[in-house]
Symmetry: C2
Subunit: 181 residues, 2 copies
Amino acid sequence: MARSSTALHGQLLDSALRLFAQHGFRGTSLQTIASDAGCSKASLLYHFSSKEAILTELLTPVGREAAELDARLTDLDGTDAAVTAVTGFVDVALRFRRELKVLFDTLPESRPMAVSGIEGIDDRLVDALAGRSPDPRQRVAAYMALGGMFVTSAADLHVNEELLREEMIRSALRTLGRGSD
Amino acid sequence: MARSSTALHGQLLDSALRLFAQHGFRGTSLQTIASDAGCSKASLLYHFSSKEAILTELLTPVGREAAELDARLTDLDGTDAAVTAVTGFVDVALRFRRELKVLFDTLPESRPMAVSGIEGIDDRLVDALAGRSPDPRQRVAAYMALGGMFVTSAADLHVNEELLREEMIRSALRTLGRGSD
DNA sequence: GTGATCCCTGTCCGATCGGTCAGAACCGAC
DNA sequence: GTCGGTTCTGACCGATCGGACAGGGATCAC
């Protein structure tokens, strides 16, 4: 027995991500994760100090990328801000589909933020998507686009990945009234 | 004590809906609901045979309306189907904002369907939103529109209700490439 | 009065949860 | 060999979960 430490660690993260995405954070027990990864619950808690710690480690990468996108958006406005926000979000969302699903499932509970640096990022994203416009109609459209990208990336449409990416971006821009057509 | 039976029953439904929407189904215990409604857990279980029964009673109305919309869509296609699906969905979604949030939170877990008559309604909605087109791009756009409407209705934007409704419909139609502009 | 019925509750139950802990099993270094 | 450190586990713990159940009051008909 005794895999090379990091091996089981990664295996546990894999199992946890899949199970969290499928049954939610609350709906997945430590025992289930451990069994899926082929070890004991006690072994899981040797690698991770708590259930929350697993979540944090899972969501840290997407948190980092989100923060980067956030930073890129700060000094943009108008169409530039909207287009950058759309393409940036779609890219991140499609790269972290299951993570985003877990994040979405976890957000409503105002738990002590498992992933740092993304507090209020949703408001800033909506602001950028709206092209910094204070028009409430633009804000609603921005929310529609954001929600659409979120849900669509989390769902698994049986569609070619590149086509999905392109059409998500085109759709979102149409939603915002900034479509080229 | 001893309220008129139906009074406590309704009070419990109120509390449950609010708490389910706020903390999720799993994240809300029977004790919490009972305390919020000002009675004992045993009393709650006198009015409802189980936790699942509360969920069913909460989601039945929105299930009925969804089924009606579903029926109205069957013999429509093209722009008619898309427009009817958008306006119908927005109307239902805004009338049952918290219920929809609970439904969304509850869906991922493949629990024995608490609300009947809506199996596979999402696929049929996407089909209608896509105007019955088999084009995968239209299907992606349909999913974007559906997700946008879903999330936007569940979120609470501080926006005038009628403006919200109008702009959600306009945004969704733009997403589908059927905007008037 | 005395039942019968309805509403409500205190108390208990088994299951499951996240988490702890002492120690077994394995490892390379010596 | 054996020693020290790392990896892993069975057994256990307190808390909380959804739910069962017997009985206490209140209200009615008679």
